[in-house]
């Protein structure tokens, strides 16, 4: 499970060394462009940017394809929804189902946008350790007046990193439960409803227990929402300044055009 979505691959490339805040801001900027782009040239420019970033961080391209694989069903759903439900010039007809030219274009663009969003996000998570992302988010959120809402930027960042942490944990206990019930004769295909019920009850109770355990461990290690420091001394370096300058130009371009 660890190998699927958000796996951090340690390294020492430029991307790895950038301040997490720079990378998070970069991802936000990239998302803005991704959501705006609809032309072929724009798309190929994004591909070019992505590929050159991948080249600098020395992570095999295969890693990124593996990351989007679990989402393929979702992507094809988006694509076919657009293809069949957009009205326009019919290019294919079978009984009541018809695909339109506009649908094809819209579907392709929309799907590619999602693919790009995911790829750039994976670029961030595979070059930045989760706790650095957390530290980065925390620092970015710090100026916001969150305390009026009764939470601190630490709490918010902690929540994010803990939920990332719980995904593999839950998956492991799910596997154990499934095995235990399969060995007691559960037939998932024959009685799927029964399977869902009998698996979800202990899964919920184990995860509640896990949450309780972790919160005890956090409490006994003096967790507090404010006044924390981070093991990662994050700070901007020359590369970050260059990146920020590039961002400003890009932002200018984005607003003007």
């Amino acid at each position: 499970m660890n190998d699927l979505f958000f796996s951090f691959i340690p390294g020492d490339s430029i991307l790895h060394r950038l301040d997490p805040r720079t990378k998070i801001l970069g991802l936000m900027l990239a998302s803005m462009f991704i959501l705006k782009v609809s032309s072929f040239t724009g798309m190929s420019l994004l591909v070019f940017v992505f590929l050159s970033l991948v080249a600098t961080c020395k992570i095999p391209l295969k890693h990124f394809f593996r990351s989007i694989r679990p989402m393929l069903i979702f992507f094809s759903l988006i694509f076919f929804m657009q293809l069949f439900f957009t009205e326009g010039q019919v290019i294919f007809q079978y009984r009541i189902i018809s695909a339109s030219h506009e649908g094809l274009v819209l579907g392709t663009v929309l799907t590619l946008r999602f693919v790009f969003l995911l790829l750039f996000a994976v670029l961030l998570t595979s070059t930045t350790s989760p706790s650095k992302i957390t530290a980065g988010i925390e620092r970015l959120l710090r100026p916001l007046p969150l305390r009026y809402a009764g939470i601190s930027s630490h709490d918010l960042a902690m929540m994010m990193s803990l939920s990332l942490y719980f995904v593999p944990l839950l998956y492991d206990s799910f596997k154990v439960l499934r095995d235990s019930q399969l060995s007691r004769g559960l037939d998932v295909k024959k009685s799927p409803l029964r399977a869902i019920f009998s698996l979800s009850v202990p899964l919920v109770s184990t995860s509640l227990r896990a949450v309780e355990d972790v919160s005890l461990a956090m409490e006994s290690r003096c967790y507090r929402g404010s006044g924390r420091t981070s093991v990662h001394s994050i700070g901007y370096g020359p590369m970050d300044h260059i990146a920020i300058i590039i961002y400003l130009f890009l932002l200018f371009y984005y607003i003007v055009f």
Partner: protein
């Protein structure tokens, strides 16, 4: 150092888990608290660092009351705790980050945090594991990391809650000798267990049963007198053998052998 006065506690308002328990724990002691499943031993332990607050009575560490919200932070820094399940006490995504969690909460500067991470990792013999994922370590290694993450806060007391019950015999011995070493270096140790063969290093034994402290004293005396057996715990084979040899007049209660090594030496001397 730790003073527990007439503490009672019940979960969710019913089923009392502790009945007016009083005990003093002094600086530098190695206290083992022993009892069966559900005897209240873990509940008592969780009162010491304020994870649980007494329904009646009071708990103080170095004069600070655990009920006083302003001192809870200091209390938990002084009294660290290692839990039973090695898998469920990780907070960080890598070993180094997990150990850094405590010092981060203390608000230490990054450089000092990194120093503490390094030194506590090497203290448990796991130097170089900084970037490992906790999930991929063995049970014994996980428990060592958990201990390191407590050491990184530089506590004066460490509370151990059945820390070996999910480990294999080899890792158990590893952890026990680490704890012994810590005690020798001056850390006060409170060790909760249901395995009698783990208290070889303890210099004081507290036996709990149904929320009461039934016995408190020298481990050798308590075991040789049979107080432990009367508490329904059952002796491990070696101690059982020692007791039968004691009754057959092989040795005095004062030098009652607690471990295989001790029994072997006593018998070899008799030859």
């Amino acid at each position: 150092m730790i003073s527990i006065q007439n503490v009672s506690y019940s979960y969710n308002g019913h089923i009392p888990a502790l009945h007016s328990v009083s005990v003093e724990i002094y600086k530098g002691e190695f206290v083992a608290i022993i009892g069966g499943n559900g005897s209240g031993k873990s509940t008592l332990l969780r009162h010491i660092n304020g994870l649980l607050l007494p329904s009646a009575g009071s708990v103080t560490i170095k004069g600070m009351d655990t009920k006083d919200i302003s001192s809870v932070f200091n209390i938990r820094q002084i009294a660290g705790m290692v839990f039973q399940d090695p898998g469920s006490q990780f907070i960080g995504m890598t070993v180094g980050e997990d150990i850094a969690f405590g010092p981060e909460n203390l608000g230490l500067p990054p450089k000092e945090i990194r120093r503490r991470v390094e030194s506590s990792l090497s203290a448990v013999g796991m130097a170089g594991y900084n970037d490992h994922t906790p999930g991929k370590l063995s049970g014994g290694q996980k428990q060592k990391v958990a201990l390191a993450s407590v050491l990184a806060m530089e506590p004066e007391v460490i509370l151990f809650d059945e820390v070996t019950s999910m480990l294999d015999p080899d890792s158990r011995m590893d952890i026990l000798s680490l704890i012994k070493q810590l005690h020798e270096n001056g850390t006060t140790v409170v060790y909760v267990t249901h395995c009698l063969d783990e208290l070889v290093h303890a210099d004081r034994l507290i036996i709990m049963e149904k929320g009461h402290i039934t016995h408190d004293g020298d481990p050798r005396l308590l075991i040789s007198r049979g107080d432990v057996m009367n508490s329904g715990l059952g002796l491990p084979p070696i101690m059982e053998l020692s007791r039968r040899l004691l009754n057959a007049g092989f040795f005095e209660p004062g030098c009652f052998p607690l471990s295989r090594e001790e029994l072997r030496d006593v018998l070899c001397q008799l030859k």
